[in-house]
Structure formats: structure tokens, C-alpha cells
Amino acid sequence: MSTTTDETTVVKEIQPLEEATVRFCGDSGDGMQLAGTQFSNTSALAGNDIATFPDFPAEIRAPRGTLAGVSGFQIHFASHDIFTPGETVDALVAMNPAALKTNLGDLKKNGVLILNSNAFDKKALGQAGYESNPIEDDSLSGYQVFSVPMTSMTRGAVDGLDLSVKEADRCRNFFAMGLVFWLYGRSMEPTLRFIEAKFSKLPAIAEANRRALKAGYNFGETTDAFRSSYSVEKAKLPPGKYRNMTGNQALAWGLISAAQLSDKKLFLGSYPITPASDILHELSKYKNYNVLTFQAEDEIAAVCAAIGAAYGGEMALTTTSGPGMALKGEAMGLAMMLELPLVIVDVQRGGPSTGLPTKTEQADLLQAMFGRNGESPLPIIAARSPADCFDVAIEAWRIATRFMTPIVILTDGYIANGSEPWRIPNMADLPKIEVTHPGPRSEDDPPFLAYQRNEELARPWAIPGTPGLMHRVGGLEKQDGTGNVSYDPQNHHHMVLTRAKKVANIAEAVPPQEVMGAESGKVLVVSWGGTYGSCRTAVARLQAQGQSVSHAHLRYLNPFPRNLGQLLGSFDKVLVPELNLGQLRMLLRDKYLVDAVGLNKVQGKPFTTTEIAEKIESMLM
């Protein structure tokens, strides 16, 4: 099949590509997340723009070989700016029949399909519901199939290292990685460094993984099966130094930075919950940055402890996901009454209830808005991509301290676990967050008023330990100014309005809404959170075709930017794509009386660009 006959001088063609999407999939114990992460990091280091989408089952280890246990990791990499992890896949690595069955539908026509042929035995085929072996029947004829006995080749590669069969087989993912590294002209160096660091205490395992990785790479290079490999050039990103970041990591680093920019200790009260736990794990590593992490007995204790720290004058944080925020609701209402700065991070997942813990959704917006008793307004901001989490964290703390209010940051599982290049800032270039605490008073001074507000209606953040400022806070209604308990009806009405006004004021302190494209026209796409990438890509695609469509992506969800109403009114139609049944749309319709149309999907998966583009096209007709 190859035209090259001299086996020692195989010269293979290298096809240049602008972009490619690769997906690794296999059993949840097969190390697919590791393979995907290594491939992403390597691609990022090679200078590509990347976007990734890890997708894993809710069970830690579903029964081996079953459809429910398939774990996947998709990487989109390109020589230009990209905003999504791609929709259809150029190359699919399937480690077993179940992985093939659940993922084949996303592979492009004539796409590269790499299979571990050893895993296609009768039992595994049966578990996946195949009646005949797809490698042997002609059901895969529309793809470039490379059937590679990865298990036996890996065992061969590690032979002599005195490993058990199980240990040897666990190196298969490195074999698969090596093969894909060769296919896309990737350097093995970063992964070899990773192996060195990760398995430094297990030299035999380290050596086995090194050998498996190289075996996969060499197999690609030497076998006749692959006639060509691909290359994706560096992306023309803005100049600077970059690293690859997941959303959860970027958020954690942003929070540490915010603490440092405001000269505060960071106190995190948290309770483990998917997909937010990694923020707790990440922050726990950086205690030397004045980070205190408290793993509480439950979600309620987590937020309450954070409020205690806020009262003490430190930067207070609680991190959770939707069901956890539901439990925190009462304490969030208290923090709103106390008018203390507090950052509440909700990494949204599929709901309601326990829902789809490992899948993404953006259906907690209304919970963040209204999920408390009484009139309890809180500002809400949302991150749009993994790297954006860093900026959002700092922005949230800036708002919280300036206005003396708890604030909700919404991200989602897709942003949290996905990764993209992050341009490394200089700390010195980031603006300081000025926080002031009133100083001591003597007995002769007029009494301290804990609820005397400034022109933006923020109250002073007086902290325990300061002489003369002793005051009591609590959830009972406050008398204006003094903060004493008050049941006076007029005062209550006044305080409810004042707190609402204070949050509304934030609109004056945040930038006006930007729009990608013309500021008026036929269709405006309004999005928030993790749908940014697919909306932006879809709009850009249609704009390139000369269509009258623009895109406004909201970071500030409560309050909305001050020019949003005017912007919405400048378009014939407004489209709001959301991974829920229309939560932002409802808020926009309510506030601006605009006949916004929804594109709604609740499948635990992000939008594809095509889904959004098709909807826009139908509205342009």
C-alpha cells in the first residue's frame, strides 16, 4: 500500500493543517484524561491556540468496557485564534469497542480512526453491543482506520522491566499518546519531563511509560500504515509569555492574586463537590501565599466559616457547585444583610438535584439571582472561558470590597475542566485593590455607625480588634445608620430599597457592554458563561459571509451593563443561546421588554458552533 519500499528510509509526507481536533476515548481506567492533558500541554507549548473538552462518567470506575464507563478528552488546536474545543473530530483514538461505539458519531467522514485492536475481543464487543467486529466487517469503511494492537505492543515495549501484566497494560495510554504525537508532529519532550517528575519515586513505572510513549511514536514513524503525518503551525496570538490553564486553576490563581492585590489573607471555606473540588485542591497547595483552606463538615459550614473570616477582615471565599449553593442560600442571605464582602463561586453542573455531576449546564443563574428568601440582591458575574476565570476572580473581589457585598461567580464544568493558553501577567501591572478599614475611635468621638454609607451606598468594613468601633451585625433588619435591630416598617422598606440600589449601582462601576460587530443590525446574539466560544465562532463565521449579526457576551449578569437595553433595542431580533431553558432570556425580557428568542439545550454538553449558526441563519431569513 505504501509506495516507499526501502524500509530503512521511510520518508513520509507532512500535510500542513490550519487546525485539527483530536479525541482520546477509552475506559474510565485507561488514563484518557492524562493522555488528553499531555497532548493539550504539548500542543500549547508548540505554540498552537488550544481549547479542550474533558468528558467523563459520573462513576469513579464504571464496570470495565461498558458504554457508561467511557471517558473522553477532546483537544482542538490551531494556527489561529480558536474559541471552542471543536465539534467534529479529525482523529479519534478509541481504546475499546465501547469507546468506539459512543464516539464514532463525532468523527468526520474519512477521519483518522485509531483503534486498540487487542481490546476488540468477543467479550468487549458484546459489552458494547456489537454483533460483529467493526474492524473486520465493513462498517468503518468511511474512515481511515488504523487498527493497532496497542496492548501487545505495549507489553512488548516494557518487557524485561519486571512489571505485572496489569502494570504493563496501564502504560497503553502512553503508547496511544506517542502515536498521536507522531501523527501531529509533536515533541515528546514535555511528556518525558512529566513522566520524570510524576514517577520519580517509581523508576520502573517511569521507564515503562517512557518506553510505551516512544514505542507509540516509533510505530507511527516506521509502520507502513501511516502514509503521512500532519503539522499545525504556531498560532498568531498576542505577544507574551503563555501557559496552559484549566478554568479551575485559573480561578484559584486569580483568587490568590486578588488576595495579594488587596493585601489580605485568603480564607477558603469549602466542601468537596464536583466539579468545584479542584479549586479547593489547588488553593490548598499554596498556603505559603497566606491561604487558609478549611474543608468544612458541609456546604453550610463552609460558607458560614467564610463569612466569619469576612467579619474578621480577611478575603473570604467559598467554592461549590449548584446543589452546594442551594445549601448555602440562607447564609448568603445573611452575608447580604451583613453587607460583608464574600466571593461565592458556583461551578455549575447538570441539575436539578444531583443531576449530571460530571456534565455541564448553565442553569444556576436564577438560583444565583433569586435563590434566597426575601429581597436579597447579589451581584453576579460569569467567566466565559478557562483563562478568563483569572480576571473574573479579581474583578469579583474588587466589586465585593468596593460595594461591601457578597458576589457570585458563575463558571461551569466545561470551563472549569477545559483548558486554553493563558497569557501570563506581571503582578506589578495588575491594579491594586484598595481596601480600607476605619481606624480606632476614642470615647469622645461621636459613636461609630456601622451602617453609615458612602456615596455608592457601601457601609464601612470595621473589623474586630479596632478600639471604639464595636458593633453588632446580624440577620435581623438593621436600623439605617446605626445597624441596631429595627422592626420599624418604614425603615425596613427603606433598607430593602437601599440594598437593591447599592447592587444596582454596580452597573456604573463596570464597563459598558461591548459588542463584536456592528452596534445595530438584524440579529444580536446575547450569551453568557461557557457558551462564549461557540457563539463567537458562529457569529464570526456568519459575519465573514456578510450577514448582519453581532455578538454581545455578558460578563456582568447582575446588574446588567448600563447600555445593554439600548443595545438590545438596536437590533431587529435578539437570540439568547443558553444551556438551560431560558434563564438569561427571562431576565432580559423582564428588564428590557425585549422579545428575545432562546436557543436552549439541556443535554449536559456544550453547544456546537453549527447549532448556533443554524439558528442565527433561520432568524436572518
Binding site: 500549547a44 507549548l45 508548540a46 505554540g47 514535555p190 498568531k236 496570538l237 505577544p239 507574551g240 509569555k241 503563555y242 501557559r243 496552559n244 490563581w253 495579594q260 489573607k265 480564607f267 471555606g269 499554596y286 498556603k287 505559603n288 501565599y289 497566606n290 491561604v291 487558609l292 478549611f294 468544612a296 463538615e297 458541609d298 453550610i300 459550614a301 463552609a302 458560614c304 466559616a305 467564610a306 463569612i307 466569619g308 473570616a309 467579619y311 474578621g312 477582615g313 480577611e314 440562607e330 447564609a331 501570563i424 501577567p425 503582578m427 474586630p464 480588634g465 478600639p467 471604639g468 468601633l469 464595636m470 458593633h471 453588632r472 446580624g474 440577620g475 435581623l476 441596631n484 435591630v485
Partner: protein, 339 residues
Amino acid sequence: MASAELPVLKPADYGTDQDVRWCPGCGDYSILAQMKKVMSNLNMSREDTVFVSGIGCSSRFPYYMNTYGMHSVHGRAPAFATGLKSSRQDLTVFVITGDGDALSIGGNHLMHVLRRNVNLNIILFNNRIYGLTKGQYSPTSEKGKITKSTPMGAIDNPIHPLSVAISCEATFVARSIDVYIKHLADTLERAVAHKGVSFVEVYQNCNVFNDGAYKWATDKDTKADTVLELEHGKPLIFGKDRDKGIRLNGMTPEVVELGKGISEDDLLFHDEKTNDPTLAYLLTRMSHPEFPEPIGVLRDVDAPCYDDAINYQVQQAKQSRGEASLDKLFNSGDTWVVE
């Protein structure tokens, strides 16, 4: 700063100008008065003290103390206090709670604050009834208790707060009674002096919804026979004529009369300092009317505090990893440059 002598604050200086809104005759007044006295006796600084409470009659307490204070949400005061004390070790933090607040809705948090040994002073006002919600039975109400929500009698077994505290490894456990003014003040002083979590249960009368719940302990005719004041190193003796004591029969305590062949040496001696919680637990099981109920300090032992440990880890991390530099962190590991 001038080295002027600090003014000595009188008990009244620790009070606020707020009207105290407990029912007339409520036992809470006594606890409030003793708390102010203790703070004055110990010359405690108002600005370095924080009272944190949950919800309930007792939890209005912070409003009446001229210190820093937080009236929080139901049952969660231990959690607020944990966050506050962990991040601000320089403060003295009290948790004021009631039997409903601490043992029903807050049972979970109470358990965890005790086992963590956060350096807090927890004062539990136990009136064996829900006062603020007007008279339902509480987790400490006796079985069979007739209330608005249990017209045929409560069918739950009551919880014993001190047993719970000992089981959760609380390092300081004590009990007092609202009208035992001096005893209460002494007990609070000892609680403040203890480093680590202090748990003080105060028997407190609700004269509106559960009047006389502790009459046996407060009535001058009966109290000598129904209450046993613990003293470290001393035998367990009680009775008007101090002629009765507690002896161990195997693992079981029994009431004995002194004389007739039984001397003080045969009695159980109180040791609040022993690390083994068995004896302290045994004391928590002595209930009226079968036994006189012990008051005073059941347990006072030293153990590492959570707030020390969480801050120590920060110091340790700083020492082992050197000066924290975010720029260094950001630029560590795999990075690349786009020209």
C-alpha cells in the same frame, strides 16, 4: 503610643444601650450579668472580643454586649466562629447558643467544632424548650414532655449535651446553673482561661414555657441533695450534711452514705485533668432524680488547637517554600513565548 494605664472597665461598661428583650424573669439575664462581671474581672478588652450566636432567645445575647458581635443563622454559630478564629487568632471568640440551636439544627457543627478543638468558648443555654418559637419541645426535653407540638407527649429520647461534648473529644467541659451566680461566674472564667474549645452548659429557666425545669436544682430545700459540685482532686460528696457520696461499683456509679464503714477514701475522686475521657463521660451520665447532677468542670485537658494548626501550616509552608511570589508561580513549569 502613650503608656497610659488602661482604664478598668466595670461590668456595666460591657453592656450596650440596647433594650434587653428577654421575658421578665428569664434566666438569660443572669448569664448576661455574669458574663459582664467575668469580662470586667478579667479586664477583657471589648474590641478584641467577639460574640457569635445562632438563632433563639439566647442568641440575642450579642446585641447586649458592647463588644464585636454577630447574630448569625440557626445552628451555625460554631462555623462562623471557626472561620473568624482561624483567620483572626488575636480575638477572643464566644459562641452563644441554646439547646435547640446547638443540638438540633446545629448538631453537626457542634460535633465538628468540638472535635477540631478550635479555641472558642461555647456557652449553651439549656432550658429544655423552644422559647423563641413559643413552646415546642427541644432535643433536651424529657421523654413524655407535653408541649404544643407534642400534645400526647414527646416520644424522642433526650440528648445529653455533656455526653455529646465528651464523645466529641471536647477539651473543656463544664456545667453551671443560671441562678448559681458565683458558680456560674467562676465556671465562665475557667472557660475563658482554657486554651482550646470550652463547652459550658448552663441550666437556664424559661419561666414562660418551661418554668421550673430545674426547680430541683435551684430550690433551697432540695438543691444540696440533687446537685453535686465538682472539685478537682476532691471526692464526690454532696448532701446538706455532706454525708453522701458517689462510689464506683465496677463501672457503675452508686450513691452511698458516708459512715457505717464507708469513708471518703472509698469514694470516686474527681480528676478533671485526666486525658482519658471515661470518668468525665461517666459524670455526664449522672442524671436527676437517680443521681445528684454534677456541676463545675468535668474535664479540662490540653490538646493542640485547630486555629493554631491551620496557621502553623501557613508558617511552615512559608518556611519550606520560601517567599511567595506569584510572578514566580505564574512563570513556573511549562511556558512558551509568542513573539
